[in-house]
Amino acid sequence: MDPSTWDLIGRNLWPMLVATVTQTIPLTAISFVLGLVIALFVALARISKVVWVSGLARAYISVIRGTPLLVQLFIVFYALPQFNIVIDPFPAAIVAFSLNVGGYAAEVIRAAILSIPKGQWEASQTIGMGYATTLQRVILPQAARTAVPPLSNTLISLVKDTSLASTILVTELLRVAQLAAAPTFDFFALYGVAAIYYWVICVILSFGQNRIEERLERYIAR
């Protein structure tokens, strides 16, 4: 490669790292946590025996999974202002990503909850636990074991999906690479660096996933 390319990369390593740490990672973390909270409630609603509650949850999941994430982002950022709902880029991205994760993770959490034998609910009931306590102390800790691998997938996808926020003016990692590359036409170098940054985050997350899985396996016979 041309020495000026190396120079370009060198000058942009730091700004891209800053964008990663101040935008991409917080965007991912906040959206994932909010998304999980949404997902838990949607999953419980979906399991509910009350028909309209489960119907509502079903519809939500269907809409989220049936429309492109990019369209969801555009609706929150570009379409809502038509109804006088104006949201800044970063919070708009949080809203869209959280709702998106909520839809996907709801199905994962629902399946994980349903994988716990009925006897666990019954045993909890006979020792006097109510619904919320049973969920919190008995069902969710066990369901976590089933849910961690697919939820890790969701999280890792989300890391990369945050690059879509570049289209609604969030100056996250990809956006910084784009801005730096535009005047030079040296796209390969800067998009290459961006790719490596995303990949490193995902490698670290995979490592974390393994650690969590090992921890959750400790009470299971092998």
Partner: protein, 250 residues
């Protein structure tokens, strides 16, 4: 002797299937009642209505100082008090796999009854000693044999200090070798004066431990009385046939 448990006219259907037609019986305080009957007779459902795991459609159940008429809508707090009267031991133990033996036993006392943790732990250790598992307090359920798991299940139910203990075929899922340990624990409880209702297929055990035997068939109590009568000289031909099949299967 006063009755700790009285059951009057309990009915229960699952969809179209009328499982319990008209169940009535009394259990005096400090006595052991065993429930026998063919599979599908409703004997497990009887036990489950006593703890409202399955709520009766109608009928009146009186345990300790709580009386519930299931023909009326039952509010949540009444139901909770009703459930707290009895402890349940399941056929498949249903221990919490993610908690140690000790944690399983103190879960109810600490989380539900809000008792001080140190006190609950001290009590739990006595109970585990009583069921012969003092050494196993810090193990996880998967590290125990089926019989040991079942005895933890018994300790977990006892820890809540219920007035009545319910056992749903506590030995049916166990290797024959492990049955004895569990039955011995139940016998000790009987000797200690616990009031118990036990659904079981162990006829010899029923004979030794029971003060009263109920033979249930088709959702009604077909015959009841002391074990010497129901198990030895049953008056109903159906009871006789059932016992013969169980005691001499070939």
């Amino acid at each position: 002797m006063t009755d700790l448990l009285t059951v009057r006219g309990v009915r229960k259907a699952f969809g179209e299937l009328q499982v319990l037609r008209d169940i009535s019986f009394d259990v005096p305080a400090g006595t052991v009642t065993t429930v026998i009957g063919p599979s599908g007779s409703g004997k497990t459902t009887v036990l489950r209505t006593l703890n409202a795991l399955d709520q009766a459609d109608s009928g009146v159940i009186h345990i300790g100082d709580v009386e519930v008429d299931f023909a009326q809508p039952v509010d949540r707090s009444t139901l909770a008090t009703f459930r707290a009267q009895s402890g349940m031991v399941f056929q498949a133990h249903n221990l919490f796999p993610h908690r140690t033996v000790l944690q399983n036993v103190i879960e109810g006392p600490v989380i539900v009854q809000k008792r001080p943790k140190a006190e609950a732990i001290a009590d739990a250790k006595v109970l585990l000693e009583q069921v012969g598992l003092g050494e196993k307090a810090d193990q996880y359920p998967y590290q125990l044999s089926g019989g040991q798991q079942q005895r933890v299940g018994i300790a977990r139910a006892l820890a809540l200090k219920p007035k009545l203990m319910l056992f749903d075929e506590p030995t049916s899922a166990l290797d024959p070798e492990l049955v004895g340990d569990v039955l011995r624990v139940i016998k000790d409880l009987a000797a200690a004066g616990w009031t118990m209702v036990i659904v079981t297929h162990e006829i010899r055990f029923a004979q030794q431990v029971a003060d009263q035997v109920l033979f249930i068939e088709g959702g009604v109590v077909l015959e009841s009385g002391p074990p010497g009568q129901v198990l030895v000289e049953p008056t109903q031909p159906r009871t006789r046939q059932f016992l013969q099949r169980i005691l001499d299967p070939i």
